[in-house]
Symmetry: C2
Subunit: 608 residues, 2 copies
């Protein structure tokens, strides 16, 4: 029955050869790879405003210069990644670039940062998507966490079925979002320029809670840097482009960066113009901007709808990225091997389930509040940016003999590495107490887990290695059958045991002398050809005296094996299990760590 | 480590012969057997008032005639049970009396009612004990549920260690309670008679929420009947008395009934006199009475303390009664056999843990509110009273030839049966909607569980029965070893397998043709003396093709057995388990319900 539910939810198994790749046109590729990056405009401006509002309403106007600074940063990062695309036409994810050029540990640090980041992308994007919906329909606000969890469940199940990276499916919501936002910007900026867009009436200007320090401005900048999350996606997926792959990928990256920059700056400008105040846990800034520009009509609802949609899509990309990266790290021996296995539908099922579970836990812990999740978010992204760009610098230096332009290229990536490194420090320090500390602590912990896993696998491989010239050991066997009474199940186990070895010993642990005597008499009458050894115990537990007996047997020869054959009832209904002693289970548990001892339970199938 | 924690909490195992019985003097026996009954005066009056207050303050004075009615009922029940004590000097619990005289089903109904009642005694008594404490220290009110759960945990652990039914230990709190209450009554009634005890000032008289109907009066009566819970305890434990057991037990029962009646009527009288209003979830009536009589000084705190103590003691008696009754029913084959087993400390550990867990669940569900638990309480008690007394009537009739006084005795028990039967109907109907329906529903369900368990055991016994003339079956064995690679663990499993049978088959399920070829070459080079069968699958799951292979083997002969030998890694640390596939576990689960198939995991102990 469980198997049927699984079939219904997940679908029938696919064959290995069904694993195929679609080559994407640039238009489709933009849709597939950029939902994460583009969707961040749904919350980046809000994050800047949320930091500035602490210094009062008047500080909000600083969001425009901060936005421009972030746009410059975006340009530097995009330029830097264009070079990665040309250097790694096979796909230049941060883990691969860092590992290849800087060594395994920088690679693992980068990998840890990325894995954490993918989890956060799911939690943040779906929370932001839910916020877009609750902004349009405030009545749904009390059910926000439930909505988010349901969405995570839905996306998890869809990915277990296997979501085709089909460009056509992704194209509709992505371009719908881009066009909606551009339409909003066109109308809004038009009205603003020609004077027809008055500020939103704020009932009371917010007073400053703290002075407008450089630290606060840097924190606002750090908060806005969440706009850059997802920019690296294209460089990971160069292989999916049509030939010439690198040229096409680079062109698409430029387009994506341009669109992102325009939308982000436009929304920030409009938010400034209409003097939006961010509301923690309430209506999103983008929703407020849209309402101010187009009114609360059909167009407004379309904008909220496509915003929610692209955010869910952004979460969905993590469901491709996280399991793939986890499987690469696992294939390198730093994560459990189970993560490398493709399930019935050819997807990395374990990674998908892991991602969904951790993201759901985060959402529950942070009550689905986007703003609380944000301080955790950008740390991992910028750490992997820095590692990746640093790796590129080292690479250009190594290849300096073959490449006459190496110095310029190294300079570009060097600039990228330096700038993202500085931003990383800004983010980690200004948001440290707000939650960034969790990630600063978590990344080394994850790297330590990687190390421990790797060490274990190396040790196991060592333990298992065997010269092919080695012959099989000669094992001598003693079989012990614990006897509780004379019945069919015991007879079944005994006949099983007697085919395995000539040295079969039946042992009864007696707790009640009278009952023992009766059993002995019955045994003698039955006479199955095996002597019954009786051990009397003054206690009720039979486990200890039995194990003592096994100990004595074993001590006679250290090389030989003892097999304990236990009759086990297999009832016809599950609850019948509760009515029988689980002696086979308990024996197995007790003897699990003992060498040269095997516990065999011989199932006896009850008719009822 | 777990074993050490258990040793520390529970203590070292005891030998069978340590199970001994203390013969109690009447004074000690009264303490041991009456804490349940006597402690009910802590809540019985309150329950009456709680029902009457619905008809307004003026209806409260009806509590005195209702209390007198309950006292008469108590006298009838006590007289009835005196006869049981003489008829069953070996102990006449309701289950035994009903089963012996009325048949197995009445016995089981009675048993179900009693088991449920013991659980409720724990929940109600500890909740009432906590209420006594929070009445004295209202600051503890927010932690009431936690206090109750901690008390349950404490009593459960203490009983797993084995609480000696030592009369001396029980005597102190029981008599301290009796003396405190009598002192309170002496002072209170003295002051009342000589006019020195004014009514407590109630800020506002409560208006009637509903008219004072007969139904409401009956409900108040039914609520007060909780005073009778525990009266049957002495008749269950006649054996613990000194010779002549029946005479001593009967004398003690009379004393207990007398004390209970005096305390109950006295408290009810005082509550009336000082015009106490019951407060739901607040200070108890007994606490209010005590404060009114002796003021909030040291004596008041002593009264609250001993009240809490005797209530915990009352709960503790259920920890002896529930596991003992459960073990008797289990020994009759109507409950899982595990309930008959005495643990390391000679107590019925499973029953104790079960009782603690269910009581804790009840407390959590009802938020530790004594008043909400009450409607569930008395139904079981009065059902078992009725069954037991009816059984006695039948018994006297059966023995009419031997006993000239049989008619009078039958009349006494007949009166008891009739009265308690009528009260049962009153309780069940007046409190049906308040929670009694749960018990009315639960008792038949528990009886159905009894039946199902019994039927299963009978069937199993049938399945297992075997003539002692029957010879062992001749089993032919095929051993299958699933192979994933060539290494020490595989070699170990293979040498194990080869000692078991001459028909050993190594099988590899290939998912990747290249890897399969490599393995085949390695195998041929190694040449362990067993041919490797390779099955190629287009899917990733190896389970299905492997099971198909096993199916084919089995089909060749229906009588023969297949043993699957799986190498299993035993790592040195628990978390290493997560890094390996649990193929042995999964195979065992998949093949559990298949006949003639045994899965053996041969542990390979990793060095690291």
């Amino acid at each position: 029955m469980l198997a049927q539910v699984k079939r219904f939810l997940i679908g029938t198994p696919l064959r290995n050869e069904d694993l195929a790749h679609e080559r994407l046109t640039n238009v489709k590729a933009l849709a597939v790879f950029s939902s994460d990056a583009l969707s961040s405009v749904a919350y980046a401006t809000e994050e800047i405003l949320m930091a500035l509002i602490l210094a009062g309403s008047s500080a909000l106007s600083l969001s425009m210069p901060i936005g421009l600074g972030i746009a410059v940063l975006l340009a530097v990062v995009a330029m830097s990644y264009r070079q990665t695309i040309f250097a790694y036409p096979g796909g230049g994810g941060s883990f691969i670039v860092a590992k290849e050029n800087l060594g395994i540990y920088p690679g693992l640090i980068s990998g840890a940062a990325l894995l954490i980041d993918y989890v956060l992308t799911v939690a943040v994007s779906i929370s932001a998507g839910a916020a877009a919906i609750t902004s349009a329909f405030p009545a749904l606000l009390p059910y926000k966490v439930e909505m988010i969890l349901f969405a995570i469940l839905l996306i998890t199940v869809a990915n277990l079925r296997g979501v085709k990276d089909s460009g056509s499916i992704f194209a509709v919501p992505t371009y719908a979002f881009v066009f909606s936002i551009f339409a909003l910007l066109a109308v809004g900026i038009g009205r603003a320029v020609f004077g027809g867009l008055p500020p939103v009436v704020v009932t009371e200007t917010v007073a400053a809670q703290q002075p407008l320090t450089l630290f606060l401005i840097l924190r606002a900048f750090a908060s806005g840097c969440t706009a850059l999350t997802g920019v690296e996606a294209i460089s990971d997926g160069v292989q999916a482009f049509k030939e010439p792959v690198s040229r096409n990928a680079a062109k698409t990256l430029t387009w994506m960066a341009g669109l992102l920059m325009a939308m982000f700056l436009g929304i920030t400008y409009l938010a400034n113009h209409v003097e939006i105040h961010p509301v923690h846990g309430g209506e999103t800034v983008l929703s407020q901007v849209a309402r101010a520009v187009v009114g609360q009509g059909a167009i407004y609802y379309v904008i909220q709808g496509v915003t929610a949609l692209i955010l869910f899509l952004a979460a969905n990309t993590s469901y491709a990225d996280f399991p793939r990266l986890a499987s690469i790290i696992a294939a390198n021996g730093y994560l459990p091997r189970q993560l490398t296995m493709r399930g019935d539908r050819l997807v990395f099922s374990n990674g998908i389930v892991l991602l969904g579970a951790v993201a759901a836990a985060l959402v529950i812990y942070f009550h689905g509040d986007t703003h609380s999740l944000m301080p955790l978010y950008a740390v991992g992204v910028f750490l992997s940016f820095t590692m990746s760009q640093s790796g590129m610098v080292v690479r250009w230096f190594k290849h300096r003999a073959q490449d006459p332009h190496w110095a310029i290229k190294a300079a570009v990536n060097g600039l990228g590495a330096t700038v993202t490194g500085v931003v990383l420090i800004i983010i980690a320090s200004t948001k440290f107490t707000h939650g960034a500390w969790i990630i600063v602590l978590l990344i080394p912990i994850v790297v330590m887990v990687f190390r421990a896993v790797h060490a274990h696998y190396l040790h196991v491989a060592d333990d298992l290695r065997m010269p092919l010239t080695e012959e099989l050991e000669q094992v001598k066997h003693t079989i012990i059958v614990p006897i509780a009474g004379v019945n069919r199940a015991v007879a079944h186990a005994l006949s099983y045991a007697m085919t395995l070895s000539d040295d079969v010993r039946a042992v009864h642990i007696g707790t009640d002398p009278e009952a023992t005597e009766k059993l002995q008499a019955k045994w003698n009458q039955w006479n199955p050809g095996v002597k019954l050894t009786v051990i009397q115990t003054p206690y009720r537990s039979m486990m200890r005296p039995f194990i003592n007996y096994v100990d004595k047997i074993e001590r006679r020869s250290k090389l030989d094996m003892v097999t304990i054959v236990v009759p086990e009832f297999v009832p016809t209904r599950w609850w019948h299990h509760l009515l029988h002693n689980q002696s086979a289970l308990m024996l197995r548990a007790a003897l699990h760590f003992r060498k040269n001892t095997v516990v065999v339970s011989v199932p006896y199938h009850l008719a009822h």
